[in-house]
């Protein structure tokens, strides 16, 4: 009559679609929340899931309901000392007595839910794509690498797989010998029986001996190894996308770059890094800091050290160029660069920077992004870079004022290019 059904194994993600619908519908709010997160949190925290909170009223599902006012009768349980005719003050905020009403008066708290790391990142980078990435991947002759793909029966001798071939031979021998061997055993048993009965000289025994001899001959004729037994390791070409990138972080650490500015720069680098991790298997990061001279440093030094003195931006660009030549040939590496500065530079150096970029660096890089942080007035470097920007589509520049600007700037820099 009643049926028991075990449903535990039948799909558990029935709500997945609805969840996606929810996320899509509130994309704008969630994206904003994601943006708030970046500006308000520590760098190392970034790459994990996120708790997103949206004001409840934004996602309410309205119904017609009664508002406050008018005359209401309320029945309540748990009377302690009221008697008929008592008059009491209204409770604060309409709680208690009011809650007998409809489901409409729910709390106005934020609606909080968890985004997984992947979802969080997706919101972050939605609509973004690396410039020219697709071009590079499609146009470049793909590198291939040999990959194992099981075994085949034909191949060249150097790929001969001995163990496999012998296994195959054993199997074939067993199969081919099975019939004669059974017959042989039967005949031998019969013969032994005849001989035991003293009939070893009969014609029947002779016939058996003949048979036995022929079976033995057949067994001996089963080849130990045959050409069909041979197995070769199969290797196929797998195209490997050029899946490595190097990211250069260039930062001015002269006296005018204070802690706040560095923080902004840090987040900018971090975002770029995260974005690259989505597209490349392997990413090298090179940190170059500079004041009047440039130096390659590790991450900690990069963000913590502070030098006084002037600024020569070209020193960093030169160093970057050297490093590319030495360690990151552009045929094998996708090269990205992000430069952060407060715009300060020696007047005479700026034209040199432009030349360096246009002639040496930009031809090698996928993209070069420059951000100017909290600069008051655009100075010579900005003006020179504007000329670079006009000359090269691979160059982008932005000014950042506060933490909240980072995310929009980032999107601006890497907006999907219409093909």
């Amino acid at each position: 009559m009643n049926r028991l059904v075990d449903r535990r194994l039948s799909g558990k993600n029935r709500s997945a679609v609805n969840r996606q619908r929810f996320l899509r519908r509130f994309k704008a709010q969630i994206r904003k929340a994601a943006s708030d997160v970046v500006s308000g949190r520590k760098v190392t925290d970034l790459e994990r899931g996120e708790k997103i909170s949206i004001p409840s009223k934004d996602l309410s599902e309205p119904i017609f309901h009664h508002g406050p006012g008018g005359r209401r009768n309320i029945v309540l349980p748990g009377n302690r000392d009221f008697v008929t005719g008592d008059r009491v003050d209204r409770p604060e905020g309409g709680g208690g007595a009011g809650s007998g009403g409809g489901p409409a008066d729910e709390s106005m708290d934020d609606f909080v839910f968890e985004l997984s790391k992947e979802e969080f990142m997706d919101y972050f980078f939605q609509d973004l794509a690396l410039p020219d990435l697709v071009k590079k991947q499609l146009a470049a002759v793909p590198e291939v690498k040999k990959a194992r793909a099981g075994f085949v029966s034909q191949g060249n001798p150097s790929n001969l797989h001995v163990v496999r071939s012998m296994k195959q031979a054993i199997g074939r021998r067993l199969a081919m010998a099975a019939g004669p061997r059974d017959a042989l055993r039967e005949a031998e048993e019969k013969l032994a029986e005849l001989e035991a009965n003293g009939l070893g000289a009969s014609t029947e025994a002779d016939e058996l001996r003949e048979e036995i001899a022929s079976f033995k001959a057949r067994l001996a004729a089963v080849p130990f190894i045959d050409t069909w037994d041979l197995r070769y390791a199969n290797r196929v070409d797998q195209p490997t996308p050029s899946s490595q990138a190097v990211m250069f972080c260039l930062m001015d650490v002269s006296g005018s770059m204070d802690e706040d500015r560095k923080n902004i720069a840090k987040r900018f680098f971090m975002l770029l890094y995260l974005f690259l991790t989505k597209s490349y298997e392997r990413i090298d990061v090179v940190f170059i800091r500079h004041h009047t001279v440039a130096k390659e440093v590790d991450e900690e030094d990069f963000f913590s050290s502070r030098e006084s003195g002037g600024t020569v931006v070209s020193s960093a660009l030169e160093l970057m160029h050297d490093i590319i030549r030495e360690r990151y040939p552009s045929a094998n590496w996708n090269i990205y660069a992000a430069q952060a500065s407060d715009g300060d530079n020696w007047q005479d150096d700026s034209p040199r920077c432009r030349e360096l970029l246009l002639q040496s660096i930009l031809p090698l890089t996928q993209y070069f992004a420059y951000v100017e942080i909290e600069a008051e007035e655009p100075q010579s470097l900005w003006h020179e870079y504007e000329r670079v920007k006009a000359a090269s589509p691979r160059f982008a520049m932005q000014r950042i004022l506060t933490l909240e600007d980072i995310y929009p700037v980032f999107r601006e820099l890497f907006r999907k290019k219409v093909a």
Partner: protein, 512 residues
Amino acid sequence: MEPEMESDIAPIPPVASRQPLSEGSEWGFELLDRYDREIARVAAHYGLDTYPSQIEIITSEQMIDAYSSVGMPVGYHHWSYGKQFLATQKGYKRGQMGLAYEIVINSSPCIAYLMEENTMTMQALVIAHAAYGHNSFFKGNYLFRTWTDAEGILDYLVFARNYIADCEQRHGEEAVEELLDSCHALMNLGVDRYKRPTRLSMAKEQLRQTEREAYLQSQVNDLWRTLPTRQAAGQEKLAARFPSEPQENLLYFIEKNAPRLEPWQREIVRIVRKIAQYFYPQRQTQVMNEGWATFWHYTLLNHLYEEGKLTDGFMMEFLQSHTNVVYQPPYNSRHYNGINPYALGFAMFTDLRRICEHPTEEDHRWFPELAGSDWVKSLDFAMRNFKDESFIAQYLSPKLIRDFKLFTMVDDDTEEKLEVTAIHDDAGYRAVRQQLAEQYNLGNREPNIQVYEVDVFGNRSLSLRHYMHDRRPLGESTPEMLRHVARLWGYTVRIDSVDQDGVSHMTAVSEV
């Protein structure tokens, strides 16, 4: 038929006769089956009439899934279910709330979910509660018999899901989502309160759907074809009044008459309306339904215990859970969240049985026909023929009012203070009972909004009327709600709040 069972608290039978079905808390499929058979036997003994049940074992994750689609086993996709899912999942992960032990679906076969994490005791409780308690209520109660078709609902939900998925393909997810948003907002106004419904059936729906699309559109066109020619413009306005009487079912009215909806949009309005109608009885019988199911899991398991089929440990765990379910915090408690339907319903059915079996002098005065009657029959009658409002009005006894210490207050915005109007004393019983019944009248709880008039000869605007009750105004959601109505109607929509004397207190308009 006089059952042998006695009293609320079961006496412990002699140890020798006890042969428990199982010890320990582990459950297994064979064991579940044995429990189910035993419970079925006892349920039959009390004459519970049920649909066949399908008891499904699911994981907690699947339970969250089931939760988020308002218990519909098959649902169309909508973001609001995703929101529900996220909220439930969060609450569950943080341990802020346990999941309900059970969800039961009013269908035939009646589907009841058991969570695999539950102990044997809880599984038995849920089987008794859902597969016998709720199940017999679904089968017996007049509202469910009238309004829902247990045989057809699963098919209909499948039809609805496929139809809506198909519309998403053809017209885009966003268009469908907008439409569903507006329909969901008006769901409570999409039920017939007085008319009898037709039965749901997928076969019929599909057969007629194409015809209906064409037919509906032609109806609408007919209505709007009578649009003014120059001569007609002179007609008297009163004569042209449409609809001729106010209409309570706003979604139905929109489905049939909205001038600008496409056929597929009308079909979706219809789907939402049908589903609203399907859930309408549940909204009207919460106290009874839960009370009935709770009464029966309590009675059935106690019966088994008396027969020696359940261990003491089982009963301890069962009673602890049962007691939590039927707890009613007082109004001034931090945990107070309205009157607990399980507590009130369970108390009322238990009290009914008491009145039948051990009536007091007071009961004879209040319930002359009930006192001393066969309790099984009396309860069955009560279950079949009432909804919360009438059930309370009929059966809430003075003893229960005393037990719950119920009292009524009036909150009048023209008065500075709240007034206590009745408490649990001789003078107050009837008033308390009356007010409590009113509180469960959906007609009072939700604003009474009706379709009043369509300006057929003018700008096609739709006028709604809110008939005020006790001067209660509409809430702050009204402008947004009007936008939803206007989206469906396609032209300007206005609403007037009028009091008993026809005086308008508030008007809101949403232009298109």
